[in-house]
Symmetry: C2
Subunit: 418 residues, 2 copies
Amino acid sequence: MDVKHYMQQLGQQARQAGREISKADSGRKNLALLKIAEALSASSAELARENQKDLQAGKDNGLDAASLDRLELTPSRIEAMVEGLNQVAALPDPVGEISQLSYRPSGIQVGQMRVPLGVIGIIYESRPNVTIDAAALCLKAGNACILRGGSESIHSNRAIAQCIGKGLAEAGLPLAAVQVVETTDRAAVGELITMKDYVDVIVPRGGKSLIERISAEATIPVIKHLDGICHVYIDGKADIDKAVAIAMNAKTHRYGVCNAMETLLVAESIAGQVLPILAEKYAEKGVELRGCLRTCSLVKKAVRATEADWHTEYLAPILSIKIVADIDEAIAHINQYSSAHTEAIVTEDYTLARRFLREVDSSSVMVNASTRFADGFEYGLGAEIGISTDKLHARGPVGLEGLTSLKYIVLGDGHIRQ
Amino acid sequence: MDVKHYMQQLGQQARQAGREISKADSGRKNLALLKIAEALSASSAELARENQKDLQAGKDNGLDAASLDRLELTPSRIEAMVEGLNQVAALPDPVGEISQLSYRPSGIQVGQMRVPLGVIGIIYESRPNVTIDAAALCLKAGNACILRGGSESIHSNRAIAQCIGKGLAEAGLPLAAVQVVETTDRAAVGELITMKDYVDVIVPRGGKSLIERISAEATIPVIKHLDGICHVYIDGKADIDKAVAIAMNAKTHRYGVCNAMETLLVAESIAGQVLPILAEKYAEKGVELRGCLRTCSLVKKAVRATEADWHTEYLAPILSIKIVADIDEAIAHINQYSSAHTEAIVTEDYTLARRFLREVDSSSVMVNASTRFADGFEYGLGAEIGISTDKLHARGPVGLEGLTSLKYIVLGDGHIRQ
């Protein structure tokens, strides 16, 4: 197969389908989502069978247990995909929404209309459920999409693509609105991220190395997040109970997620009270502590953190801890080491809370709440296609709105410019 | 001078100043704008003297009359810069504005806060007034900026930079919040558009070739517009008077602007009525007409348009005209040839107006209004740094909001994720 030619063809078809889907009314898009859900439910045996091929190939190729787990389509995961489709169908349609329409002194009315981006390219790794999640969000936002999953999940993705095609056909929408790349050739990715004429934005989902490579090579805008080096700062005026609850939740609720805390900053005036309590609780959970010099003198079990620790997203039961003089030092540390994902302060001080909110330049900034809340569902977006640590276009959890743009509309009655 | 080192230094200083200015309150930013305006007024003799050096050098180097005109700082242009500063000072401060703050089922409050982008690099050609316009908008939006004007206006820009520095100092803001690149070495641009660590977004202002080159070479996001191939479609249900007024205004109000009409599409059912009237009026204005075969049979003075005409932004008294069957053919033509800047329909038909608004994918879409309204001032943005024909981040006229981003804020009371 000529990969370049194949991808160009997908691109042309996506561009054409994108024009169609951008005009589709909400009822038809929702019908497609519900029909895809029905097709998935009806095909669960088939999906399990195809998934089994991927799992077997994965075992044969020596995939590790974590990857095999991500790859598996259990009945409850199929059910979750069905549930996700129903949820996205229930969300309000963002497309065509008109805002801020008002009269100008010239007599024209000016407002903004929310419009689809066009064609979205999604590149992801082993989880086959991303195929459904991404397709559902793109479809609802009026975009065509080209989905490039990991080669290890190709059979599963093809089976899911069958269900998507069935749902689109039953709703009378073009099949090319959602296309799954059928080749595992890596050159397909290189083509996808440089087809400027056919693809408007790339959303990579996966490990840091995948995202870095795609960002470096793409000539199309990329909505990405690289790291989640999230901080919690326990201020001198913190409520100890809240501080302990938040620091524990942010680190230990789940370890392998981007919104988990990786570095804890503690004001020196409260460190003696709060760190011993936390150290004991972290020990119960088996969390390894790496601290600054002063932390190590307070917490005997802590080992010395190195410069590299402040830069590291552990995604594991490891936490770095630094004692700081005050909020200034905390914010300076965050500005230097944070990946601009999510930071939280724990304080009862009104003025410091207000300062932290304004001055910390991350995609989510929190007061007295766990960093684990940085999530599209928790924020009420209904669903998310990822979390952006970029500043332009979309920042933080990206839901339907992040997959749209705004155009200006002008209504007149024969108005001309003087 | 080591250009790379010099630019890196500007970048570091801008990054630091950006942090300061992002925290500056509205009063201080407005004070700086007003003090810069005062300094400009007080320095008009000095500005004229420095501008004279640029004009003389321009003449010596054989600059054409149009470029020399753009370069000139007349008293009324200095007055316009002062007026612009006062206007930007009077605009509401976008920074820190919190929207959509609401309670979620978990008990946390989630909202979005408008925040500066950080450091903006502006690259422009001969007009020295851009130095003030760009600096004012960046400053008000809480950003630091690095301004790289054309080498032909270096003396004027340096003199303006003196005034900016004076205003910043009087308001107690860091001087590096606005830096004018003092070297005319072209390598400075190459450095500016690739200093990822220090610059967050590039805004090029100038001719298409400048913008294409910068877009191709930049590794930093670019807010740009390339072309303004704007269309007016006169529908079969158009009011003839409105159609004539709009088609004349869109083409002849000003020729060299990006929101001027370049191609007129006319429904065949009305062409016989409207084209002869328009042809006569265009002839009075000296506008050359290039038409499709059917246009030429209706309008004797029209010459045959070639395929290239539909792709061309004339920026001159030339208009291409095509007779189309209906709105479907009009939209198809626009989708194929438009630069996605601004398109207008003239019609009294409710359903077609609604369709045109939804289906035409340009940064401004109008009904019964002249394309010349596509402008930040006319839209009520107060000022504009340019017009974006991109879809991501900013689309259409870019004002203060386009120089900001949104971060999520979360307010809790010790909330943790279940």
